[in-house]
């Protein structure tokens, strides 16, 4: 597939950089540290922060804002902590999400749902960790899936 750059929205990068958190997006020199440090990329090869940034820089507004990937970021800020150019990818994700909502790519309720999932996941994790912290000896033997099942029951 050939992407015709003239047909893209080359202003997109300025829009993102005008959004809070998106300021430094243009500084990216594509070293890939964000992707290498990303726990989501570890489990999902399609989630590639560097590629998302490149798409923004080239002006692929529609493709980015409508893509599923921008919702997968878990906001762990690992990429942000390591980026040598201070490109704050986790914040850029927030910016992209808010543009996506604003421009109607997703409904606000969708965002609310995502937030709920995040909170729920946090609770679940807390429960699971508590369970193994309580009985450290047990911790080594119990599978996360088993723990999750128990935790889910408690929640």
């Amino acid at each position: 597939m050939t992407v015709a750059l003239n047909e893209l929205d080359t202003k997109f990068k300025y829009d993102v950089s005008n959004e809070p958190g998106g300021e430094n997006i243009k500084l990216c020199f594509a070293c890939g540290l964000c992707t290498a440090s990303c726990p989501v990329a570890d489990i999902d090869q399609n989630f590639n922060p560097r590629r998302i940034i490149r798409m923004v820089l080239l002006g692929m507004r529609k493709e980015v804002l409508s893509s599923d990937t921008i919702w997968f970021c878990i906001q762990c800020y690992n990429c942000q902590g390591h980026c040598p150019q201070n490109v704050d990818f986790a914040d850029i994700m927030k910016a992209l999400r808010s543009i996506a909502v604003r421009e109607g790519y997703v409904a606000p309720s969708f965002v609310e749902k995502i937030k709920e999932i995040d909170v729920f996941c946090q609770k679940l994790r807390h429960e699971m960790v508590s369970a193994i912290v309580d009985s450290r000896s047990r911790g080594a033997e119990v599978e996360p899936s088993g723990l999750a099942k128990e935790a889910l029951e408690r929640l």
Binding site: Q45, P84, Q85
Partner: protein, 1490 residues
């Protein structure tokens, strides 16, 4: 040049920093008529370059090429080398600065220090070596590296003294206790043994029975308990088999010494004398040697096997022991005196003292010493059931414990004082009591009772009275307190006296007690040549005291035998800690009691088995760790060095001193420091041992490094099989405030990778992880290609995220994401972090104090058109302090700064300098050759393969060789001093060095022998490295044979060589500069400003060169304005004559006297210009591309064309919407495999300019690697910030440019694969700018021929040395600068132009040039005038004199190439220094025996 007042300016210069930049600046200035103060804070000059293993892209040994420079600058008469010196302040103004210097206390008097290094060998304090980046160790007294200049030692002192090394002072042998304890703590038990043996020939014995005064004095004893020094010594000897110890070979002096008594005093005296080459013969009356060690100390305390082994080793040294010979009975002292050159008496005190008690002669009453002697000699001795021992000393206790072991049921010690007064050691008393021995105090025998045999003893009770002569309370009998005890055996152990009747024969003075009187400092008796020591002098004392006496006497005897005055031993008193110090130590270390040595439990003690068991390894290490001296990071004032230093150079009382100097200008060349990557947690540095920095890796690779160049990783010393290099660590990292590029890391990583692969003993894979590969320097891209193609190094474009340990093996896992977005992990055995540059905090502090403007990252701020000037007038900068840079750029800038200073201070030139003065040359003509041969180990470069000691011995056997020695580094400064001394001492008249290559080192050695008064041509070099050890690494034996042959050949030649007198030629003080661009004009102006005539030749009809097409630079400066100013200055300068439209036609002459023929106005005028030097600055031009539709579509431009259009504000360009730039057009390909260096910056510059004009313009830059090195990186960041899009492509997948017709428009379509996106992208460009190669014009080859200078494969002029002589040619007097040398920025051209001028100045200031002595000469009698030589001579230096009909040599032109000599059919032409006779002699030597 006549001396001038200087117009108030001072003709001296301060150079700050002794790295390669500082050295070059200093040398240039010193050669240009200025006095230089070269200030360096560390003890040696050399900087980071000295730490490097090799240099890129030639892989030359860094130290080898640097070393001659170090020596040269240090020995320059106009350089004051101030190492270990800091700058306190710089005040005043340009032309007249006051500099206050603080010379740090070295604690070593450098006037006296010979650099021998003995002090360091003995220093007990082991510290991390800064030179080896902490990977190796050094001592507290040290010199940073073997070739350090000056080769002088300094002592590293810690503010806080933790320990006074009182142990050493207390030990009568002054053993280096902290030293061996430290080695034990480090687990280096063998080394510890060696150190112990060095001062103690009976260590296993002392490790058991020494009374350990060291422990009594130990400072740790004031905190908790003293260190168990004796037990630790025993531990070391337990782990070393003395029987396997090799004995050194010592040259015999032929002197003989008789030693009477084989006890500790005699044994030590004999041992020491044997090591000095004297023959020692010991006469011992007892059947076995050892004295009290043999017959006094019981087996359970000191096994006889231990004694036997230690004595046996002494006999291995050549000491003869005659047992059963009693002097005075079997042989008289007088007879010995006749037979031997000296005598030592050490017969000890073996005579027991009588009790003087009635009944003493009853059987059953015996003497302690006699009792022990008999038992020890194996006699069967019976003791009664009840045994009483009389006495309170160690002998009494030995008797008691022995009696017990012989079967006595009840053993009682009877002592007339109390426990407190007992002279025996506390531990002996405890041991005896544990074994069930009773001690009765305050009793004394008054009568022994028995009929035929002892049955009872009568005792009297005592009380303590007033102190007696010994200071102890006198025991006073209590009247009427007598009582009796039944006893079977009494052993009296009241003390011993010496038996000295036999000495009376010679009239030796005795004391009242019967002991021999000696001088306590020397051990000499009243009779010359007779010495004494040990118990026979002192009365009963301790073993170690006797040993010390033996040593003292041996020292005196040695001096006596050499006819020298006897050395007097000085006593040092152990120092105690103060209460404050004790408290401080307690706070810091806490209290940890001694680890007690294990003993056999009492119930298990059988017979005479040794009671103590010794330490385990763990216990020993833990105990050794308690030593306070081992905890310190600085001198412990043990004063070992003071004792060891033969030159008496050490002075622990030294203080820092201050000095003020006046200078006219200052050059900052303070270099850089390497980034410490500990803060980058994920990369594992500091937490994983196998992650090292690149500079550490240099040391790991280096032959002079901590592992002698054996590649290994730190966790286990195993050679790595796979290494990862991680680029941009501490560079291009805005997050850590280092947004700049460190410029050199890419190429040095490639170098380290290549060298690692070469060094590795196992197959090694290397991967370099990088973002942009920045091999932008001259010939660096070829190097990169070689690394890929030939060395098989992998390159992965990715920034590594993390390095983690795999498991406990030390292997590492590297996590990274490739360009296509795939995250990978890969296992490596080692990782090297390519760390960036940062400025040194001290330098920043000084710069701020002086008021020099710095950039935000602490580097010196400079301006593009004045790259070596700081913000302060009169203060200049060079090297990495102005921006990260490589060695040649540093050297160029250094020369450039020197050029600038030279111009600025021209009025004060030669006002403070001195002429070089040599001693008068000795006339050696007609003398029998006396050859000295110096053979170099070159670290392991030669020594690792060639058996250098063997070659040295061989050299000594060669005819006329009167002296031969070997050196670790013959080129080091101390060796130069040594060579001079040896020439003097051995009256040498020929000198040979067998080492690396005359190419780099011959000038140094010639200079050295000249300084010793020899003609420099009385020198010969044998190349046993480049042509021997390096090429025969795998066959060391053959290499050794070849080295011998080479030395033999050199000797054969050296016997015939003669002094040569080179021509002295006057210098024409004018310069010819070829090329009227910025480089040429800058050179011309720099020289003209100093008062030299300059002819500036330009081929075109205007000045300005390629800069005419450059309008602005990245910093926003107006290039045209600068250029206009420069041209005006040139045109108006009275000393500069400009020739435009001028071509060089022919060149004659040589350095100092060139004649260049020029043709003007296309051949209408021919002129001749006489000049002393030539600077080539012919520039380069833009490549005219035939790719990417250039020339076929008007929208396709080169960058320079684009710039012109931008300046013209052509709306088609400045107002376009989509602009594409393609980088690397016509270069970095097969045809031009080099990088044009400036194009990335130029592209970014133009892109930024366009963005300034039209911010919404879409600009795409298609690149292979963005090479915005140094601070240019900041503009790359700026470009991205402005929204310029950078897309990477590979050479294999270049962009495609086509014209597409669409809707009546002819689109200019650029297509490229965007690797991050994973898709092809297409841009319809309004304008396409090509960043094209910079090419050298074809005409330069002609010019190169005329001046006999080389060009490289790409047509750029090839300098004399790519690292250290970047503007010189091998042809003297010709220099190069600017684009003619290689593509470079305007700023770099200017610096290099100034450098060329500076180098030229060093010639122009001279009154005369000394030519080469090795030239052709014609034997007119043989010459037939055939003219073959004339035809063949490439230099026009030989021609047939038509009148005389013979060839005549113009010595000034002759380069000594030898062509004429080889061609001459009649053998009339010969080359001086390489005559037929000399060469035949070499061949004969080589072929002898073949």
């Amino acid at each position: 040049m006549e001396k001038q007042s200087g117009n108030g300016k001072i003709g001296a210069v301060l150079v700050v920093g002794g790295g390669v930049g500082g050295i070059q600046a200093a040398l240039d200035l010193a050669e240009s008529g200025y006095y230089v103060y070269l200030v360096e804070k560390s003890p040696s000059i050399g900087g980071v370059m000295a730490q490097l293993d090799k240099t890129f892209p030639t892989n030359d040994c860094s130290m080898c090429i640097l070393s001659p420079k170090l020596v040269e600058v240090a020995s320059h008469q106009n350089v004051s080398l101030l190492t270990y010196t800091e700058i306190e302040s710089i005040n005043g103004e340009a032309g007249n600065f006051n500099v206050k210097l603080r010379k740090k206390a070295t604690y070593v008097d450098w006037e006296k220090c010979t650099g021998c290094g003995v002090c360091s060998e003995w220093c007990p304090v082991v510290m991390k070596s800064e030179f080896n980046m902490g990977l190796g160790s050094r001592r507290a007294i040290y010199t940073p590296f073997p070739q350090a200049v000056p080769k002088k030692f300094v002592i590293d002192k810690e503010e806080e003294h933790l320990c006074h090394a009182a142990c050493r002072d207390a030990c009568p042998l002054h053993m280096n206790v902290p030293g061996y304890i430290k080695l034990i703590a480090e687990g280096q038990n063998e080394e510890a043994y060696k150190l112990i043996r060095a001062t103690n020939p009976l260590p296993a014995i002392c490790g058991r029975i020494c009374y350990a005064p060291c422990q009594e004095a130990c400072n740790r004893g004031q905190i908790d308990e003293p260190l168990a020094i004796r037990d630790l010594k025993r531990f070391v000897t337990d782990y070393t088999d003395v029987e396997k110890l090799e004995s050194p070979t010592v040259e015999s002096t032929g002197k003989k010494v008789a030693i009477i008594g084989a006890g500790p005093a005699g044994l030590v005296a004999a041992h020491d004398l044997a090591l000095k080459g004297h023959k020692a013969v010991i006469f011992e009356s007892l059947p076995k040697p050892g004295g009290m060690l043999q017959v006094g100390i019981p087996e359970y305390r000191l096994p006889k096997e231990v004694v036997r082994k230690e004595i046996e080793y002494i006999t291995k040294l050549g000491v003869e022991i005659k047992t059963g010979v009693e002097v005075g009975k079997h042989i008289s002292l007088g007879e010995l005196r006749g037979e031997f050159n000296a005598i030592f008496i050490g017969v000890g005190a073996h005579q027991g003292m009588e009790l003087r008690v009635p009944g003493e002669n009853l059987p059953g009453v015996g003497q302690g010493v006699e009792f022990l002697r008999k038992v020890n000699l194996g006699e069967k001795i019976k003791v009664g059931r009840k045994v009483a021992i009389i006495g309170g000393g160690n002998t009494a206790l030995d008797c008691a414990r022995t009696a017990k072991r012989l079967g006595a049921e009840e053993v009682t010690i009877l002592y007339r004082r109390t426990r407190a007064e007992m002279p025996a050691s506390a531990e002996e008393i405890t041991a005896a009591e544990t074994e069930g021995i009773k001690i009765e105090f305050l009793v004394a025998p008054s009568r022994f009772i028995g009929d035929k045999r002892l049955s009872k003893i009568e005792l009297i009770r005592m009380k303590l009275g007033a102190p007696d002569a010994s200071g102890r309370p006198r025991p006073v009998p209590i009247e009427g307190s007598e009582f009796q005890l039944p006893i079977n055996t009494v052993i009296a152990a009241l003390g011993q006296v010496a038996k000295t009747d036999f000495v009376k024969e010679l009239g030796i003075l005795l004391s009242q007690r019967g002991t021999i009187e000696v001088n306590p400092g020397t051990g000499v008796t009243n009779i010359e040549g007779v010495f004494a020591g040990g118990d026979v002098v002192t009365g009963p004392a301790y073993i170690v005291d006797a040993m010390a006496a033996g040593r003292r006497a041996a020292r005196s005897i040695d001096a006596f035998l050499h006819g020298m005055p006897l050395p007097v031993e000085e006593k040092s008193e152990p120092q105690k800690l103060t209460a404050e110090e004790i408290q401080r130590l307690k706070n810091r270390f806490g209290e940890h009691p001694q680890h007690k040595i294990e003993e056999i439990p009492v119930e298990q003690r059988k017979g005479f088995e040794e009671v103590t068991l010794g330490y385990s390894v763990k216990e020993a290490h833990e105990e050794a760790d308690r030593c306070l001296a081992g905890q310190v990071t600085g001198c412990i004032q043990c004063l070992e060095c003071v004792d060891r230093c033969e030159a008496k150079a050490i002075d622990h009382s030294m203080k820092d001193t201050f000095e003020e100097v006046k200078v006219g200008a200052v050059i900052f060349s303070g270099g850089f420091e390497c980034y410490n990557p500990s803060e980058l947690y994920e990369l594992g540095y500091g937490r994983l041992p196998n992650v090292v920095t690149s500079i550490e890796f240099e040391r790991i690779l280096s032959a002079s490094g901590p592992f002698q160049g054996v590649l290994q990783r730190l966790s286990d010393g195993v050679p790595p099989q796979k290494i990862a290099f991680i680029q941009c660590v501490g560079s291009r990292d805005a997050k850590h405030n280092r947004p700049y590029c460190s410029s050199v890391c890419c190429t040095y990583a490639i170098k380290e990778a290549m060298i690692a692969k070469e060094h590795s003993t196992v197959p090694l894979d290397v991967t370099i992880f990088f973002m942009d590969l920045r091999t932008y320097g001259k010939d660096f891209d070829r190097y990169y290609e070689r690394a890929k193609e030939e060395s098989g190094i992998q390159f992965v474009r990715s920034k590594v995220y993390s390095i983690e340990a795999v498991d406990s093996t030390g292997d590492l896992v590297v996590k990274f994401t490739t360009e296509d977005g795939v995250t990978k992990t890969e296992k490596f055995s080692m990782a090297v972090l390519s760390v960036g540059f940062e400025s040194s905090p001290e330098l920043v502090k000084l710069a701020k104090k002086v008021g020099i403007q710095l950039n935000p990252y602490g580097f010196c701020q400079t301006k593009p058109f004045s790259p070596v000037e700081t913000s302060k007038s009169g203060i200049f900068v060079c090297g990495a302090f102005s921006a990260p840079k490589d060695i040649p750029e540093t050297v160029m800038q250094a020369s450039g700064a020197a050029g600038e200073v030279s111009t600025f201070l021209a009025s004060a030139r030669n006002t403070l300098t001195k002429e070089k003065v040599y001693p008068p040359e000795k006339d050696v003509k007609g003398e029998e050759p006396r050859i000295g041969v110096f053979i170099c180990h070159c670290g392991i470069n030669i020594g690792g393969y060639v058996n250098v000691p063997d070659v040295t011995e061989f050299a000594k056997t060669l005819p006329n060789v009167v002296y031969a020695e070997r050196n670790l580094f013959t080129c080091s400064q101390d060796t130069q001093e040594r060579i001079k001394k040896v020439i003097e001492e051995y009256k040498l008249n020929r000198v040979i060095v067998a080492s690396c290559t005359p190419r780099t080192h011959e000038p140094l050695f010639r200079e050295t022998i000249r300084k010793a008064g020899l003609n420099p041509y009385l020198f010969e070099m044998a190349n046993i490295r480049d042509q021997c050890s390096w090429v025969h690494m795998r066959e060391p034996e053959k290499a050794t044979e070849k080295a011998k042959d080479l030395v033999k050949m050199a000797v054969a030649k050296a016997r015939l060589i003669e002094a040569l007198q080179p021509l002295s030629l006057p210098v024409n003080r004018s310069a010819l500069v070829i090329g009227g661009g910025v480089a040429g004009m800058t050179s011309a102006l720099t020289l003209a400003e100093q008062g030299f005539e300059v002819y500036l030749i330009e081929r075109g009809n205007v000045l300005g060169g390629v800069a005419r097409r450059i309008h602005y630079n990245l910093d926003g400066e107006d290039v045209q304005e600068f250029l206009g100013r420069l041209i005006k200055q040139i045109q108006e300068h009275p000393k500069i004559r400009v020739y435009t439209d001028t071509w060089i036609v022919d060149v004659h002459g040589y350095v100092g006297n060139f004649t260049t023929e020029i043709m003007r106005y296309r051949g209408r005028v021919i002129e001749k210009i006489d000049h002393g030097v030539t600077i080539i600055a012919t520039g380069a031009e833009e490549y005219k591309p035939d790719e990417y539709l250039y020339g076929r579509d008007p929208r396709v431009l080169t960058q320079l064309e684009l710039e012109e259009e931008i300046v013209r504000e052509n709306p088609d360009i400045t107002n376009c919407d989509n602009l594409v730039m393609i980088q690397c057009v016509g270069c970095r390909n097969d045809e031009r495999p080099y990088c044009s260096r400036v194009c990335c910056n130029e592209a970014i510059k133009n892109a930024l300019e366009l963005k300034e004009m039209k911010p919404e313009m879409n600009i795409y830059i298609l690149y292979r690697d963005i090479r915005t090195y140094g601070f240019y990186e900041v503009y790359y960041e700026e470009a991205r910030r402005k929204g310029i899009i950078f897309l990477h492509y590979d050479l294999e997948d270049k962009p495609r440019v086509s014209q597409e017709r669409k809707g009546g428009q002819l689109l200019l379509r650029v297509q490229v694969k965007d690797k991050v996106l994973g898709d092809e992208v297409a841009i319809d460009a309004d304008i396409l700018a090509l960043s094209v190669a910079m090419v050298s014009p074809p005409e330069v080859r002609e010019l190169a021929m005329l001046y006999k200078v080389p060009v490289n494969e790409d047509g750029f002029f090839l300098e004399a040395h790519v690292k250290l002589r970047p503007v010189d040619f091998a042809t003297e007097g010709v220099f190069v600068c600017g684009l003619a040398h290689a593509p470079k920025s305007l700023e770099e051209s200017i610096a290099q132009a100034k450098a060329a001028a500076s180098r030229a100045t060093t010639i122009l200031v001279k009154d005369a040039i000394i030519g080469e002595g090795i030239v052709a000469s014609v034997n007119e009698a043989l010459c037939s005038g055939c003219g073959v030589c004339e035809v063949l001579c490439p230099y026009g230096a030989i021609a047939v004199d038509q009148e005389k009909g013979v060839s005549v040599v113009n010595e000034a032109l002759c380069k000594g190439c030898g062509t004429c000599c080889a061609a001459c059919p009649s053998g009339a032409v010969q080359q001086r220094g390489f005559t037929r006779k000399e060469i035949s002699a070499m061949l004969d030597a080589a072929l002898a025996g073949v």
